[in-house]
């Protein structure tokens, strides 16, 4: 077959490996890594996380950067694959980033966790699965409320807000939906509430009539739905066209996001409340900062921020603070984050618990009649 052919292939391979060499970095900038889904089916949720970081980059640099140096967020695509997520992480780690953001997908976070431990680089992630915290990795910090709290908030909304006794659950068939539904069942059982139906749906299913009709027949007085934006939007529309608006509906984490609200009309939202990841703007405890954040975000991206955009923004601002105080040193940043208490961000208040969770609040919200805006009925905290 020829030594020539073999030789060419080997040379080609070496050349290719050389192309992988990390790009030269300007000395006067600090590069922070972010492994986010930019292409593939997760790109929709990836977009807000990316936008949050972009706005933060702008704001940090506009305020003088990190002690004079500019900050830059280097984003690498994770697609929807765990393997590619690990590739993205390792690529960023190789560039000696002092800090890396991971995506909001629990399974990607779980897959990357061993590498984080090996590399000893502090990371923030937004996957809600408690399984991640159970790994007890001191380098991982969760900047979003975890799914156990989400389920607890859903339980609270049924028990003390809606005051219903017979509940149906419908969850997306993936790690998040399954784990959240399990937790909710436990919480409701402990409160003596009957779960009369549990339905599941696939991501990107198109017809929820089978599930909704089964729920109708079960006599449920309230439905709790753990679903992603697109599925929640469809489900809400189909609920109305099937005439089931008399059954109260609790939408968990797909309630006040603009991308969801765009898909539904006002009448669709009848008798719906939700558990919101973040209530931004005036209603936020950090009102003025939050209002400014929303305004800047809309100006830059033409869409309002949601709970993902805001936590990544806050995360980035926290990292900037860390860099200013302790410099681009991985261990020192890790220590700083581990000890963070009461940082007031645009989403809420961040305090790091022993298991790495930083955000401990969710809000039960309802729609202001006649609008798609929400107001907070009740906040739910986890006890850390």
């Amino acid at each position: 077959m020829g030594a020539r052919l073999g030789g060419i292939l080997v040379l080609g391979a070496l050349l290719a490996m050389a192309l992988q060499a990390p790009a030269a970095r300007a000395d006067d900038e600090i590069v922070i890594g972010a492994a986010l889904p930019i292409t593939g089916p997760f790109a929709g949720s990836g977009l807000q996380t990316y936008q949050g970081l972009q706005l933060a980059e702008h704001d940090i640099n506009a305020a003088g950067g990190i002690n004079g140096k500019k900050i830059r967020f280097q984003v690498e695509d994770t697609q929807a694959s765990n393997s590619v997520a690990i590739n993205a992480f390792l690529k960023l780690e190789r560039q000696n980033a002092p800090f890396i953001f991971l995506s909001s997908f629990t399974v990607q976070n779980l897959a990357t966790e061993p590498e984080v431990r090996k590399a000893k680089v502090p990371v923030m992630y937004a996957g809600g699965g408690v399984a991640i915290a159970e790994r007890k990795n001191p380098y991982m910090f969760r900047i979003r409320a975890n799914d156990r709290l989400r389920a607890a908030a859903a339980a609270e909304s049924v028990i003390s807000v809606l005051k219903k006794k017979k509940v149906a659950i419908i969850n997306v068939q993936d790690q998040y939906g399954t784990a959240a539904a399990e937790q909710l069942k436990k919480d409701l059982a402990a409160a003596g509430i009957a779960v009369v139906a549990v339905e599941t749906h696939g991501i990107r299913d198109t017809d929820f009539a089978p599930q909704l009709l089964n729920i109708k027949n079960s006599g449920a007085e309230a439905i709790v739905a753990f679903a992603y934006i697109r599925d929640a939007g469809l489900m809400i529309k189909q609920r109305r066209s099937l005439g089931l608006t008399n059954i109260a509906f609790v939408s968990v984490s797909s309630v006040n996001e603009d991308s969801m609200l765009e898909l539904v009309t006002l009448p669709d939202l009848e008798n719906i409340i939700g558990v919101a990841d973040a209530v931004l703007g005036q209603a936020n405890p950090n009102g003025p900062r939050s209002v400014q954040f929303v305004k800047d975000f809309i100006e830059r991206f033409k869409v309002p921020p949601d709970g993902f955009g805001s936590v990544y923004y806050d995360g980035a601002m926290i990292v900037a603070e860390a860099l200013k105080k302790v410099g681009p040193d991985r261990e020192k940043i890790r220590e700083y984050l581990a000890g963070l208490k009461d940082y007031q961000g645009v989403t809420g208040s961040f305090s790091t618990a022993a298991n790495g969770d930083m955000l401990h609040r969710l809000s039960i919200v309802e729609y202001i009649p006649g609008t798609k805006d929400v107001r907070v009925i009740k906040d739910v905290f986890d006890n850390k």
């Binding site: 052919l5 694959s81 765990n82 690990i86 390792l90 090996k118 993936d174």
Partner: protein
């Protein structure tokens, strides 16, 4: 004679230099190399099923998955060493291959392709939902790693292990190809009617090729499971199966070298293209198309033809 010896010596020295140089590579670079090698092992299997036996096989990732889960579960639940796990993975995948191959042996081209597609998708659904065994969407973590416990970096050590396994796979493949089994496959590929007329039991032959392919896939999967210690259904679905077959076709479906080249090329290409930003996967699609159009025999086939035009191409 001396020239051949020179070439061989040169090749050995080059090989040793590369292996030595690997010690200087970062974990990221080693990971890409490892992933390429693991893919190459699967794709060598496809060389038998598709390159030789002509079956358009879009379910190889499922067999990789079977090998991965079988090995992981054996190591976790039965507490066997990961090395034994590799054997378990291979056997599990081969058995599954046998189960699927027999009913398929009469099916042809597109229908075969679509059958494998259906199997791929069904496999994904089952793995995702059979939570008690596979862990479902959460995936399976804390899988014991396959290492030799030397003083080397973990990633580097595994890289060397993979290189050794790949070498063994290549030698086995070459021996199989030269064997009566291999020659019969080639005869069938060239002219199925004539082969049948000369008494070859085509159905059995194809079944064997399929099982062999599954075994290679299972080995790759088992290695993968004990590489990162974490597997999940995402890695073993239709998209991955399509990618594996593409690796063979892009690399050159008529040779083992093609399988390896294709595996490396399509593993590295998306990473090379990252710098493009948001549209890089579109460029990836274009690249694949370009290679298919411009290099009809795949990279190895076409490069080979361009370099050595006078030598008769033997498969």
């Amino acid at each position: 004679m001396t020239k051949r010896l020179e070439h061989k010596l040169g090749a050995v020295i080059l090989f040793l230099a590369l292996m030595g140089g690997a010690a200087f590579l970062s974990d990221f670079d080693l990971r890409l190399a490892i992933l390429s090698i693991l893919a190459a092992i699967s794709v060598i299997g496809l060389y038998f099923a598709f390159g030789l036996a002509g079956m358009i096989h879009l379910a190889q990732a499922a067999f990789v998955g079977i090998g991965a889960y079988a090995s992981a579960l054996a190591a976790q639940q039965l507490h066997v060493s990961p090395w034994i796990g590799l054997v378990v993975g291979v056997i599990a995948a081969a058995l599954a291959g046998a189960l699927l191959a027999y009913p398929m042996h009469r099916t042809r081209s597109h229908y075969l392709a679509l059958t494998t597609v259906g199997f791929s998708v069904s496999f994904e659904v089952i793995i995702r939902n059979w939570t008690s065994v596979t862990g479902g969407y959460d995936g399976l973590g804390a899988i014991p790693l396959l290492r030799l416990d030397t003083a080397m970096r973990s990633e580097l050590e595994f890289f060397y292990i993979c290189v050794a396994v790949l070498a063994a796979c290549v030698v086995a493949a070459m021996l199989l190809r030269a064997s009566p089994f291999g020659r019969a496959l080639i005869a069938v590929r060239d002219d199925e009617l004539a082969a049948a007329a000369s008494g070859i039991d085509i159905a059995r032959l194809k079944t064997k090729a399929f099982i062999l392919c599954s075994a290679y896939g299972g080995l790759s999967g088992a290695l993968y499971a004990h590489y990162g210690g974490f597997i999940s259904p995402d890695d073993f679905g239709l998209a991955r199966a399509i990618m594996l077959l593409s690796m063979l076709i892009v690399g050159g479906e008529f040779s083992i070298l093609g399988a390896i080249v294709g595996a490396f090329f399509l593993t590295y290409l998306p990473e090379w293209l990252r710098f493009i930003g948001g549209g890089y996967m579109a460029v990836f699609g274009l690249f694949m198309l370009a290679v298919l159009i411009v290099m009809p025999k795949g990279i190895v086939g076409s490069l080979g033809a361009w370099l050595v035009p006078r030598v008769a191409r033997s498969r």
